[in-house]
């Protein structure tokens, strides 16, 4: 019986811990999205990375790191992280729901998931 209680206690603790970690990640995503949403981005990409669905970018002459979750807007269009490379340009206006990626004089448009709610 005591053995059972310990196991149940461990399982419940793990579940509570995971719920806490998920809520903490969600809260961090909201602030990341808010920062990205307000930003006016125009320039060359100097940093590019992806983790758990988010793409992280930095723009030249801007030390801030921005994170967003890109969505392809046309069927069969490659994802942002697939196409974008260091040195490509992006343009995004504040509060715009669309980001423009310019690569080799060709423009690609992406929307992004609203993580603000």
């Amino acid at each position: 019986m005591r053995h059972k209680i310990i196991i149940i206690g461990i399982v419940v603790s793990v579940l509570l811990l995971l719920i806490y970690l998920q809520l903490e990640r969600l809260e961090r995503a909201e602030s990341q999205y808010e920062k990205f949403n307000q930003a006016s981005l125009e320039g060359r990409i100097s940093f590019l990375e992806a983790s758990v669905g988010l793409v992280y970018i930095k723009i030249e002459e801007d030390s801030e790191k921005y994170a967003f979750m890109p969505l392809e807007i046309a069927p069969n269009q490659l994802g942002f992280y697939s196409i974008a490379d260091l040195g490509d340009s992006i343009v995004k206006r504040p509060y715009s729901d669309t980001l423009k990626l310019i690569k080799n004089d060709k423009s690609y448009y992406y929307t992004f998931k609203d993580l603000g709610n």
Binding site: L18, Q22, A29, S51, G53, A74, Y81, Y95, S96, T98
Partner: protein, 332 residues
């Protein structure tokens, strides 16, 4: 029919053999009466033209020429407002505008024509059929205050997003495809076949504290990035407990949110981005079972499960894992 042309006195300087002022592109004359400037929204009434540009009165008369011209030709000849009125652009929803644009693309317009139609639709029409509606919105600060009245910024609204494409196919094949897709994305199918199946090899050396490494092939089985081609990933784990094992790993992971959110960037979990996959493992003889959970920014995590088959010592362990692409087939 013979007789004197009733309009002869109106065109004394023109040859009686010429049609529409010898300029059939710019003018038209279906009745042999007076010819009219097609760039104007005139109406053909009783063999002649009733200039009707004021917008007042009934428009029951037939704007006959418009219906025989292509959309591109009408766009070239009509003013913006005339084009929008004729095609009812202003009464269209954004989705209908996008549909109008896509239908128009079937006529293989030039880039210039596409740009013109995009302008008339109130946005940009991309060559792939995506329509970006331009709207204006006031700019607000983060505290909700308006940053100057009348200061507006253009904003492109994508109207070609998956939400507007409930069915991308038509006919029986489309129905079958949609049905198969619905079945594949159903909770039943997701329960039996994970969103991210994986196959690999790995070892764990946790005795008290320690770590492990595994190399895996990982597939994205659903969502916009679904592919038969796997990515190759390396996972590094650090943890505490007692789990010393090595072997072949088979497993998978499911995203707990909507299929449309799935993307291949979810395969990667980086410590330096502040992310981690949390794991717990249990040794059961020659099999070591591992459960994982990765919090994601959408609020729905990724739940994983795998079995490692091979020599195994220990009872169990727990810790965190970092996963990185070694080979990414989606990256150019």
């Amino acid at each position: 029919m013979t007789g004197v042309d009733p309009y002869a006195s109106s065109y004394l300087d023109e040859s009686p053999y010429s049609y529409a002022g010898a300029n059939p592109i710019y003018y038209s004359d279906p009745s042999g009466g007076s010819y009219a400037d097609l760039s104007r929204d005139d109406e053909f009434v009783n063999g002649g033209y009733n200039v009707f540009n004021s917008g007042g009165g009934s428009r029951s008369g037939l704007q006959w020429a418009n219906q025989y011209r292509s959309v591109a030709m009408n766009a070239m000849l009509m003013s913006t407002s005339a084009f929008q009125n004729y095609y009812g652009i202003n009464q269209m929803t954004g989705q209908q505008k996008a549909e109008f644009g896509r239908n128009y693309l079937a006529s293989n317009p030039t880039a210039e024509e596409r740009k013109t139609i995009g302008n008339f639709l109130g946005g940009e029409l991309a060559s792939d059929g995506t329509f970006y509606q331009t709207v204006s919105t006031a700019l607000y600060g983060s505290d909700g205050t308006m940053l100057g009245a009348g200061y507006v910024i253009p904003q492109k609204i994508n109207l070609n997003a998956p939400a507007f494409h409930s069915s991308s196919n038509s006919g029986w094949w489309g129905l079958m495809t949609d049905f198969a897709q619905g079945l594949w994305n159903s909770p039943f199918a997701r329960y039996h076949v994970p969103d991210f199946p994986s196959l690999g090899v790995g070892f764990s050396g946790i005795a008290g504290f320690g770590g492990g490494t595994s190399f895996e092939l990982k597939w994205v089985a659903r969502g916009p990035d679904a592919s038969f081609v796997p990515a190759v990933t390396v996972t590094q784990a650090v943890g505490a407990g007692y789990d010393v094992s090595a072997g072949v790993q088979i497993g998978g992971a499911n995203y707990l949110g909507d299929v449309q959110d799935l993307n291949y960037e979810m395969l990667q979990t980086l410590f330096n981005a502040g992310d981690a996959t949390y794991f717990g493992s249990a040794g059961l003889g020659p099999v070591s079972l591992t459960g994982t959970y990765t919090p994601t920014p959408t609020g729905y995590g990724i739940l994983g499960f795998s079995g490692q088959f091979g020599p195994s010592l220990g009872k169990g362990a727990g810790g965190v894992m970092n996963t990185k692409f070694l080979y990414n087939p989606w990256k150019n």
